[in-house]
Symmetry: C2
Subunit: 249 residues, 2 copies
DNA sequence: GTAATTAGTGTACATTTTACACTAGCCCTT
DNA sequence: AAGGGCTAGTGTAAAATGTACACTAATTAC
């Protein structure tokens, strides 16, 4: 169980975390300015070595929390990257995670790493050190994939949101236009968001209704298990297969 | 770039490969009888250390080829497992792959490892060393998921197959019954299989037609890119979104 | 030639997806 | 307070897809 730290740079593993946020109608990713070689001073994905007595998920959670102060956020392992020459100093494989956070909850941490962190619009990130561009792209694909299948969009919005905001989020991430009426019909038919009977304030036009995600109801469905393929249909109260949800590992 | 082999057991990474096959109407997995401690003599997933100058995919391909003599098969990284105590001798994380092979092409290799390999029906594998049961389950979920979305079933069948065989494969993997007429309608409407105008031989009943997978046509669609969400529809010759295919990374 | 066995086929209905354009409500200006 | 500017909010019809369901056809074995 003992690990020789002196050999870390010869054969080691790290986690890299693609932290997505959504703001100003734009999908963003949190990057840090590297404080060490190689690529010191460049913007890169936040990552760190996995400690010897630390599980992979734990390491990813740690990196996220040190950077953002947030825990209990959506986090998922995506893929492991281990090309022989991906790190100039030795053989380092990295397990890529992505997480979804509400930028509104995010406050800059005082850790020296976190002070160097900044949100970047996805569309403007064109160059990253190591194989980080590939990792980013991979996580982005996964996010798009997931967004079609699961109600994860809510993770990126403040607790109260309007349907238009939600639609803009879908449009920004999927890079497509959606029909307003069809989008609302579909979202509402999921029965996973609750009308708060509150209105937007401080806008210079007709205010929109505010909604929140019905996390309890979603949990319930997850726990009951999806049984899409079964022939018998619980008539009411059933989330149909089409409704952005799907059974998965 | 140098790696200290003496430290391999202190902090190392391996690949484990879940090799699926299909035979006698049953989904199978290829297991090896371990020739070394720990768990010597137990059936386990085939795996191996990743060599210092070897990419992860390469390592997975190597393990597969040494065991089966096959290359150029469907192989995909699934997930990395790295619980601190998953290996009793030290910190070993493993990158899990799964591959799909045609059992009909499989011949036992003469390597000492391969001699100890055997196909096991998935349903009868109930206990495996390390966290291999979790890995197997994870790959199985991925396979099921994939089978709904992509035409990967063909990878498990001999080059010529009948529609009934294909249906049985879907039923076995998805653990569900499918309607014969609807299944055929759907499969044929994909236009991804070619009617060979040949008949089954040596069966004691009406012989079925033989088909083969139209790999070229599938490649073509992959290369053209899926553009499901676009509004304009190439009227004919288009694979619709519903047809077991989907855009993914 | 007949029994046994699997192959092969069509139709009607339900559900889901898609396309599409106008009215409603609030704020700000004048 | 009337009107302009802006975003919110709503319904319907047609097309595509999914689902349920039962009989005839072709071959072999006896």
């Amino acid at each position: 169980m003992a690990t020789d730290f002196g050999n870390f740079f010869k054969s080691a593993f790290t986690v890299d975390n693609v932290i997505f946020g959504f703001d100003e109608g734009d999908l963003k990713v949190l990057l840090i300015k590297r404080g060490e070689e190689p690529f010191m001073g460049d913007w890169a994905l936040p990552g760190h070595f996995v400690y010897p007595a630390e599980d992979l998920d734990t390491a990813a959670i740690r990196v996220l929390e040190e950077l953002t102060g947030l825990n209990n956020v959506y986090l998922e392992q995506v893929k492991t990257f281990g090309a022989v020459d991906r790190h100039p100093f030795g053989r380092v494989i990295t397990i890529a995670y992505f997480s979804l956070i509400k930028i509104s909850n995010y406050t800059i941490q005082s850790s020296s790493i976190a002070l160097q962190a900044q949100w970047h619009s996805i569309s403007q990130v064109t160059e990253l050190p190591f194989d980080h561009m590939v990792i980013l792209q991979s996580c982005l694909n996964r996010l798009r994939w997931l967004l079609r299948l699961r109600p994860v969009g809510f993770e990126l919005l403040p607790p109260k949101f309007t349907l238009t905001e939600l639609q803009h989020l879908y449009e920004a991430i999927l890079e497509t236009d959606l029909d307003k009426r069809n989008f609302r019909k579909k979202i509402l038919s999921m029965n996973l968001i609750i009308d708060l009977d509150e209105m937007q304030e401080g806008v210079a036009h007709r205010p929109a209704r505010l909604y929140k995600f019905d996390r309890k109801r979603y949990q319930q469905f997850l726990e009951e298990g999806f049984s899409f393929e079964l022939k018998e249909t619980r008539k009411k109260e059933r989330i149909s297969r089409s409704q952005l949800l799907s059974a998965d590992q």
